[in-house]
Amino acid sequence: MSEQFQPNVVAFLCNWCSYAGADLAGTSRIKYPHNLNVIRVMCSGRVNPLFVINALQQGADGVLVSGCHPGDCHYMEGNFYARRRFSLMNELLEYVGVEPGRFNMSWVSASEGAKWKDVVAGVVEKAKEAGPFDQFRRNKINW
């Protein structure tokens, strides 16, 4: 690589906390790396583990799932489901040989714009360290 590797991270954000927190980072004009793109879902509990695999297959170098803080879920329990599913998922990914650091979870509330910046910076940095991911790659946009 001649230039520094620019990773591509796909993030799934819940509408009520993390997406709102990311919006607040914007309203507060807090700067963070551009390498992360967001898919909005209503709740982190909506994120199917297959979405993560799918993102890695489609070319993402890292994936983030972010929801409300445990206990603060807008839908009462959704982030608990997410937490349970993705702690299992983490083990599965490690088992199939995906470097730790490619898959991340975080809890960012609607008032934590500054935390969102730290999360993005951290996730992008980890993906950078892990390098390009092509183990699962299928290189075609499935319109």
Partner: protein, 666 residues
């Protein structure tokens, strides 16, 4: 899908908010090559009238059936543009927003990177919008009643407004009396109105209003349901006094074996009460309550031969057999008016609050100057024979406010003015006293505040700029160690009384309401409003509103104004009688559902049940969603093994193309 997608993409400049960091022309050109895109336009303000007109005309003239708006967050303007689509004759759910402002132009510094990211965001939106389906909102009836939690001035005002509009109010208060913190105040700034005089009539009004059901000494235990249809469960704690029979004569309290031995909460523990008590003379309801934690009979099972209060009560109102009661009812809206806690001055040990009896808080001084207080309105420091009248009085401002060392970065907004008011009251009651106020800044921002601040200074109160570092004892005097930062002079000021202008904090039990209503907290830990400017009384939970200091520190005029705002927001729902409920809910493909019931277990709202259907002659069970109960979180979708349950607008087949686009595009 009804027909082939014809997509219109509208890229907004947002003045320069987006165009400064994102090359709008490049994004426009790029979007025109995306699949199924028929029209791409950019405009300075898409949300403006002419911007919306562009869309409506294209829908008509170009036959668009899907729209992508690349502008701000959907949390900002999704509703605006949904209405535009509807006005153009298109189903409002054929809209996808590409957030290229909050999550792109405002957070990046390199124009090329930001433009590249904007292209990705627009592509993902196009990928999704092609697969969106028309959705239809349904309406539910709104139960014409409101629950108000907390009966301080905020809860009282909101209750009166809603009740006067003709709707039922359940007003629930944790303590034995309504009135809240305002009832503890002597005078109110800047007009020096007597607090009790302006509050008491309203307290009485809520108690006698035919539309208000007042539940004091009660606690909301459970709230379930959704906007328009909340089920509420309230525990009315046993007072051990029959409310019907009690005449509030006070004989019981006089005879109580613990008379004068239980610290009075109302007097900030400076005066004493009995174990059976009326919190304060103007309490509403004027009914006595037995303190179950102090009463000898309730804690030890024995109080002499028989409890003296029982013998003293001629009305026969005292009943130690009384049990807690549970009240259950339905409401359409909820107002949270739970107020605040005063900052605990013990967290600033350098001020010696727990060490020296002549270091007191503002609220304690408030009780001392009040005619209904423990000293009958005399400023007497200390107890019994040692009590003395102070001559040198120092106030310290910003105790527990604007102080990162105790975790409170915010300004409590009332301390500057209550300090000025208390300084005035001290000067009035003790003309010989010398009063000085140590301050960091003076914030006299409200109506009449600056004028009052000026008046207090002219009355001889000295303002000294400096934040004291320490208070210690020297002989009989307290020494305030401080640097006057305007003259750069270190001072050791000897005084008789130090008053700490303690700030306002979120209630220690704030968590209880969060768990009941799924509220969020802002970084200062007060309850978070839906939008800091445009929805300051709403919350993220539909039908739930905030009033008063529960949302953040405020003075009485602001609290009353916000309470009226919350009442008006609740009344919008109550008086229209109907509310639209989300269309983006789950649905089941009964042809592939295998009836495992995982989704039934997952759903936090009990919105899914298994029903039996006849599938080609076989009776099998499948999941079915109750549309009115589904809140649209999608947790069931992620748990379904066969992909048979899907969430409208967030279906797997709508999200996967977004992932594909974001994954492949570098």
């Amino acid at each position: 899908m009804n027909n082939k997608p014809k997509i219109g993409v509208y890229v907004c400049h947002c003045g320069v908010n987006i165009s400064k960091m994102v090359d709008i022309e490049a994004v426009t050109e790029f979007a025109s090559h995306l699949p199924n895109v028929k029209v791409v336009r950019n405009y300075s303000y898409m949300c403006s009238d002419p911007g919306q007109l562009l869309m409506r005309e294209d829908i008509k003239n170009e036959g668009l059936n899907r729209v992508v708006v690349a502008s701000c967050s959907p949390r900002m303007h999704e509703n605006t543009f949904r209405k535009t689509l509807a006005a153009g004759g298109l189903n409002p759910y054929y809209l996808e927003m590409a957030n290229i402002r909050e999550q792109c132009s405002w957070v990046h510094e390199d124009r090329e990177d930001a433009t590249g990211k904007a292209k990705k965001i627009v592509s993902a939106a196009v990928a999704k919008v092609r697969l969106l389906e028309a959705l239809y909102e349904s309406e539910v009836e709104v139960e014409p009643a409101t629950l108000i939690i907390g009966a301080g001035i905020a809860g009282i005002q909101a209750a009166l407004d809603i009740a006067n509009a003709g709707f039922k109010v359940y007003l629930v208060e944790k303590t034995p009396s309504v009135g809240g913190k305002m009832s503890q105040l002597d005078k109110t700034f800047p007009t020096l109105d007597c607090s009790a005089c302006i509050l008491t009539p309203k307290m009485v009004d809520v108690a006698v209003h035919p539309n208000i059901e007042l539940m004091t000494y009660s606690k909301v235990e459970d709230i379930s349901g959704y906007v328009g249809n909340f089920q509420v469960k309230v525990r009315k704690k046993a007072r051990y006094v029959d409310m019907e029979k009690c005449t509030s004569c006070g004989a019981c309290a006089e005879e109580c074996r613990l008379a004068g031995r239980v610290p009075s909460e109302f007097n900030e523990n400076m005066g004493n009460r009995s174990a059976i008590y009326l919190p304060f003379p103007q309490a509403v309801p004027a009914k006595y309550t037995v303190d179950p934690e102090r009463c000898l009979f309730l804690t030890r099972g024995k109080c002499g031969k028989s409890p003296k209060c029982v013998d003293a009560c001629l009305a026969g109102a005292i009943n130690f057999e009384q049990q807690d009661e549970i009240a259950e009812f339905k409401v359409g809206t909820v107002i949270v008016a739970t107020g605040y806690d005063v900052f605990d001055a013990a967290k600033k040990p350098e001020y010696g609050y727990t060490e020296y009896e002549n270091v007191i808080t503002g609220l304690e001084l408030e009780r001392l100057v009040s005619a209904s207080g423990p000293t009958g309105g005399d400023i007497l420091i200390g107890k019994g024979e040692n009590a003395f009248v102070p001559k040198e009085v120092a106030f310290i401002k910003c105790v527990g406010s604007r102080d990162k060392s105790v975790g409170n970065e915010y300004c409590s907004r009332v301390c500057c003015m209550y300090t000025a008011k208390l300084a005035h009251l001290v000067e009035e009651k003790l003309p010989d006293a010398n009063v000085r106020i140590y301050y960091m800044d003076v914030r006299a921002f409200g109506k009449g505040f600056e004028e009052f601040y000026d008046r207090v200074r002219r009355e001889g109160v000295r303002y000294i700029r400096g934040n004291p570092s320490e208070i210690f004892k020297r002989g009989e005097k307290l020494v305030v160690k401080v640097e006057d930062t305007l003259t750069a002079t270190p001072l050791e000021d000897e005084v008789d009384l130090v008053v700490l202008a303690v700030g306002l904090e979120p209630r220690k039990d704030a968590r209880e309401i969060i768990d009941l209503l799924r509220l969020s907290q802002s970084s200062d830990k007060f309850y978070l409003e839906a939008h800091p400017k445009l929805a300051p009384v709403d919350t993220a939970t539909d039908g739930v509103f905030l009033a008063g200091c529960a949302q953040g520190p405020k003075d009485i005029p602001d609290t009353v104004a916000q309470a009226k705002g919350a009442a008006s927001s609740a009344l919008v729902l109550l008086s229209s009688g109907k509310v639209k409920i989300g269309a983006q809910i789950s649905f089941v493909n009964e042809a592939t559902c295998r009836g495992c019931g995982y989704c039934v277990d997952i759903c936090p709202y009990g919105a899914i049940e298994l029903v039996e259907i006849n599938r080609m002659g076989n009776i099998i069970s499948v999941a079915r969603v109750n549309d009115a109960l589904c809140k649209g979180c999608g947790a069931c979708v992620a748990g379904c093994l066969s992909g048979s349950i899907q969430q409208k607008s967030f279906m797997d087949r709508q999200i996967l193309p977004q992932i594909a686009v974001l994954g492949v595009m570098r």
